[in-house]
Symmetry: C2
Subunit: 356 residues, 2 copies
């Protein structure tokens, strides 16, 4: 063994070929299950591979094949945590990512993860770099503007989560409309609450807009007094929810009978703020969330919310992306069903244990 190849003693297909006494083409064919090699050739290659513990270099394969078998996922990373629960809630992103990973796995793909900080200046730049390392990208909620998406989509296929499909990209989301409809019905019809507020998420979120729209329409139609708008503007975070309540109370505003929060995180903040002022949930004010994050059932009282099938959302996103990568056109706007989860924060009595 004269020349010390490169950095590591990293083996190449040439080493295997030499050892097996065949050409690199044969090695490659055996490894790929292409053609019909003579049994003996096959044996020799396989033995050499085994003895050497050889593994093909993924980059070289990708370059040659034009397929990396890698999809990228980009999401936001929380910075500091104001509420202890805030941190946990971020984990819902991981649930989605698990869904993506599981489905990828089945197709022989791996998942490249990259987070960007909330205050990150050049998200586009990072996303673009990811594009170069993958066959396609899945972007979490509100990562890029439509322009940014178009730009990235010119490099690799893009699927957004909880966004809006664009001419260049596809989208997978949950059925906010039905979820909010069921929630409002439960509060206004079942519980007969006369006044309800919508504590919003970020204004630029499609999810939030959809929820707000249905809330307003349905609650009004059912004859309830509605509160929403500037003084009820949150940002999906617990801190955001808490500060809205604090401001309202400080201003001496009377709270409505029920507060519909744009997310579970928001509800967590609201319940926290309410508890601090000695306002009881649900006796004085009912509170609901949206998402059904893992911690929702452990809150006191357990949170009534709308469950979004996070894991399926991820799985579906991969599925859509994969078919696109494979050159198959698919539905550019997939909508997944949601489910109302009634617990106690809405005012219902403690339901059957281990319920749902």
């Amino acid at each position: 063994m004269p020349e010390p190849k490169k950095a590591k003693g990293a083996l190449t297909i040439y080493d295997v070929a030499t050892r097996a006494g065949v050409s690199i083409a044969s090695v490659s064919r055996v490894l790929n299950g292409q053609g019909t090699p003579r049994p003996e050739t096959r044996e020799r290659v396989l033995r050499a591979v085994r003895e050497l513990s050889f593994v093909r270099d993924g980059s070289a394969r990708a370059l040659s094949n034009g397929l990396k078998e890698v999809v990228g996922v980009v999401f936001r990373r929380g910075d500091e945590t104001l509420f202890e629960d805030e941190y946990e809630s971020f984990l819902y992103i991981d649930v989605i990512n698990r869904g993506i990973e599981g489905e990828s796995h089945r197709r022989g793909f791996d998942v490249l993860m990259s987070s960007v900080a909330f205050n990150d200046e050049n998200v586009l730049q990072r996303v673009a770099a990811m594009a170069g390392k993958t066959d396609g990208l899945i972007l979490h909620d509100r990562m890029l503007s439509a322009v940014g998406i178009a730009q990235v989509a010119s490099i690799v296929p893009v699927v957004t989560l909880a966004g809006t499909p664009t001419p260049e990209s596809m989208n997978v989301r949950c059925d906010n409309e039905s979820g909010m409809r069921a929630l409002v019905r439960h509060l206004v019809i079942d519980h007969r609450y006369k006044s309800v507020a919508y504590l919003s998420g970020r204004g630029d979120s499609p999810d939030n807009r959809a929820r707000a729209r249905i809330f307003e329409a349905d609650a009004a139609a059912a004859g309830a007094k509605i509160e929403m708008g500037p003084s009820w503007e949150g940002n999906y975070s617990a801190a955001g929810g808490a500060s809205v309540i604090a401001s309202l109370l400080d201003a001496g505003t009377a709270l409505p009978r029920a507060i519909v929060c744009a997310s579970d995180q928001t509800a967590i903040g609201v319940m926290h703020a309410l508890a601090q002022r000695g306002i009881r949930v649900p006796q004085d004010v009912a509170v609901t969330g949206f998402d059904d994050v893992p911690v929702a059932r452990h809150l006191r009282p357990p949170l009534t919310t709308v469950r979004q099938p996070m894991q399926e959302l991820g799985a579906k996103a991969f599925e859509v992306l994969h078919s696109r990568i494979s050159g198959v056109a698919g539905d550019p706007d997939v909508v997944l069903p949601v489910q109302l989860v009634v617990r106690e924060s809405c005012g219902c009595a403690q339901p059957a244990r281990d319920g749902e």
Copy 2:
């Protein structure tokens, strides 16, 4: 534009060079910040890149550079869930992965994720495939045998989590010894419990062995009656913990005053089983966990446990791996400090609110 390049209209550095009227070498240099190009050259390249929305192909770069700027993480995926909380507990893996991702990010690396099912036959094969796509691997708890690790480590550097360093691989873990020591002291000295049991994790886990060893030594030294062994054998899961309790109770065995569980998950199962039999925690039997998973503080009663710095564990693992990838030798056995978190399941009165 005559010939339709390849599959996509995927741009290459040649397209940029043509547009900018320079050689591909110049494009590459500008993009890499190498050399001292004339300002005008720089300008023209940058403009062409911008106008074309060009992004370099990661595989080609990796092949040429000998560096993919990707580390792989392999972990186990839960299949079905017996307890609703089981599912959540799996998320602690994600917390570690977040730590890895965060640190990678700082170094310009991305993280390739791959899960394997619990019953997966050829984990080694999957791990090997990952090795080919990355510059180094981080393996979660008990993924591979020492032989398997050695094999993979001959391809890329390997760091294990909560394992044992081998001649070929490095390891990062938490200080189980100190954690268990503090826990036993709290139970046997502070609470004066006379009888304590250790409900174990998987027998083949280094973490479990370390915890068991210290438990036995310290509890005995403090004069407590000890129970552990075959009839107290769990497997880290909630289901495992619950079934141990069920068996014991069915056999008419009297429970000790305190049960030290090998993990929070186990404690969750134990508390569940106890509740079903009407046994009160901590009045009748105290229960403690190990890990401090997010849900631990939401259990009823809130779980006294030992917090492992999961996120730092991940960050540290990347750090160790990165320095190894960079050719720097580092400590092959990093130990991170843990912290006793006293809540109510040990028998302590409700501590100050918003504690910790």
